[in-house]
């Protein structure tokens, strides 16, 4: 597979992320297509996932994210292409032969999908029962899992008696029960409030670190990707339009879809300032600077004189600095301004003169 040839913006890291170091591929999709009627939901998607990696999948509604993830455990059948999980060709297996493979793949759902007629412990024990474990084995494993997700006191409760966050914890415990090597998560936090989301994400990240579990995670929330994912792929109308390490994609989105999805995370010029922008001339030029990685670590302002920070800041994604700054640069002296902009361009990812303001900016 050659993503360059397909013109997919692909970000390459200088140093490999620790979780990618193993170099062992657990999921490999090659030219997977799936159409409903005439409209392709997944269009020639090729993708590899490293063992131990957390891969974020983003895209607009209807982009094909769920369809893609459902191809991995055979809930969805591709029209063409190859889907390999742990070296096993999923597309070649019938429903019965898929069953043992599915037991190695955990899945968590947006609406939890817990059985209302079963208690919390029985819900968590179901995958173990399916595996044929004895009652004693199940009890022991369920106790471990309840402890892991912090719900030991709710073992005998029914799902209806739990909060959304608690239900999702049960969902996670259930997905992990049979010790899967791969966890699929389809908008697992979309129905939860920000604080509960954070605790669920912390839990997933911990499990990823402790058990080396590979996680494929679909979400609408860029914040979720920023917090937990190592790598992100962006889907648009069934195609991968961008992929790379999260901090690089977030610092430097290339595809329009990515840019608009990331809008929520990037600071914008305050409206009061924007209203005063003059397109041609003024005391100060307003310059938008996007920077990341080493550039953001350097004593950046040293090369600039009389520059003010108007708005914005530096954030940390995957331990890498990523930021958007709005700078005010004196614009009376055109050559000095030109020099300053050149200096910025040689250091930052993206530099844009938005306009000019006069008076106090």
């Amino acid at each position: 597979m050659n993503t360059q040839a397909l013109n997919i913006p692909t970000h390459t890291t200088g140093e490999a992320r620790p979780s990618e170091a193993s170099g062992d591929i657990i999921v490999k999709l090659t030219d997977v297509c799936r159409a409903f009627g005439d409209t392709p939901a997944i269009d020639a998607v090729s993708l590899s996932v490293q063992r131990g990696e957390i891969l974020g999948i983003i895209g607009r509604s209807g982009a094909g994210k769920s369809t893609l993830i459902r191809c991995l455990n055979g809930l969805e059948r591709p029209d063409s292409g190859s889907v390999q999980v742990e070296g096993m060709e999923i597309t070649a297996l019938d429903e019965r032969r898929l069953q043992p493979v599915r037991r190695r793949i955990g899945m968590i759902f947006q609406h939890f999908n817990l059985l209302s007629a079963k208690s919390v412990e029985d819900n968590i024990a179901l995958p173990l029962k399916i595996e044929g474990q004895s009652r004693a084995q199940r009890r022991k494993r369920v106790a471990e899992l309840l402890d892991l997700v912090g719900l030991s006191d709710k073992a005998k409760h029914y799902p209806a008696q739990l909060s959304g966050g608690q239900k999702q914890r049960v969902g996670i415990a259930r997905a992990l029960a049979a010790k899967p090597s791969l966890l699929l998560s389809d908008e697992a936090t979309s129905a939860l409030d920000p604080e509960t989301t954070r605790s669920i994400l912390t839990l997933l990240k911990d499990i990823n670190r402790q058990l080396g579990l590979t996680i494929l995670l679909i979400t609408h929330e860029m914040e979720v990707i920023r917090r937990v994912a190592d790598r992100v792929i962006v889907l648009d109308r069934g195609r991968i339009v961008e992929q790379g390490p999260v901090w690089q994609v977030f610092a430097n989105p290339a595809a329009d879809t990515t840019k608009s999805l990331l809008q929520v995370l990037t600071p914008e010029l305050p409206p009061t300032l924007r209203a005063r922008l003059d397109p041609v001339a003024g005391d100060d030029a307003v310059v938008k600077v996007q920077l990341s990685g080493d550039a953001a670590r350097q004593p950046f302002f040293a090369g600039l004189i009389g520059v003010r920070l108007l708005h914005g800041g530096i954030d940390t994604v995957q331990g890498e600095p990523v930021g958007t700054l709005f700078l005010g640069i004196p614009a009376r002296d055109k050559t000095a301004l030109e020099k300053a902009v050149q200096y910025l361009k040689s250091n930052a990812d993206h530099v844009e003169v938005l306009g000019y303001v006069s008076g106090d900016a």
Partner: protein, 221 residues
């Protein structure tokens, strides 16, 4: 009311209990699997087979569209073959069961259809076999609704058993018709109606309590 009358009431009460009880049980044991077959073989079901689905649906519809009193008479040869006689309480269980089974199959089909597809998908994603999905997901999740539907079937059977009097099955309904309606013995009629009301209310009450106990979808205090 004379002792003879009381004895008659008592005997008729038991005849009604036997008729509804046994035919109810048979309709449950036969109707639930039929409902499962209807659900599983339907389009998008776990064992899609439209030919089986449509054929079974047609047979069920056929039995359901025949008025019970006609079924009662039409089935006389079948009853004689199975029970050895076409008359009496035990004989009436055959036509009652044959009428109630497709009735309950349709009610149970609705209950099973209402089980959230997401739950079935979750079970599939866990690697569950079809049988496990039926046993652990479909039936338990539909259980409150299945029991509510069975209660409706039993109450309907209490009413239908009155018509079985036509083939000498006895029972409370028959008693009310022979003594109360045809001989104007109001006292008997009132007594029978009162017992029927109590019986129906009792069945409904037990059914409701069972549903309440098994339904974990709502938070109980």
């Amino acid at each position: 009311m004379s002792q003879a009358m009381l004895d008659l009431l008592w005997r008729s009460f038991w005849e009604t209990i036997i008729m509804t009880g046994f035919s109810g049980l048979i309709s449950l044991v036969a109707g639930l699997p039929l409902a499962l077959i209807l659900i599983l073989t339907d389009r998008g079901g776990l064992a899609e087979n439209l030919w089986v689905n449509r054929s079974l649906g047609a047979v069920i519809n056929g039995f359901r569209s025949v008025p019970f009193i006609i079924l009662l008479v039409a089935l006389i040869p079948v009853t004689r073959f199975i029970v050895g006689t076409s008359l009496g309480t035990w004989a009436s269980i055959v036509p009652l069961s044959i009428a109630a089974t497709p009735y309950y199959a349709r009610i149970a089909e609705v209950s099973l259809r209402e089980v959230d597809r997401g739950l079935i998908e979750a079970a599939r994603a866990m690697g569950a076999t079809r049988w496990t999905i039926i046993r652990e997901v479909l039936v338990p999740e539909a259980m409150p609704s299945l029991i509510a539907g069975f209660t409706v079937t039993l109450v309907t059977l209490v009413g239908a058993s009155a018509m079985a009097g036509a083939i000498g099955a006895g029972g409370l309904g028959d008693l009310a018709i022979r003594y109360g309606y045809q001989r104007f013995e109001t006292e008997i009629m009132v007594a029978v109606v009162a017992i029927l009301i109590l019986l129906v209310s009792g069945v409904q009450w037990v059914g409701d309590r069972l549903v309440e106990r098994l339904d974990h979808r709502i938070v109980k205090r």
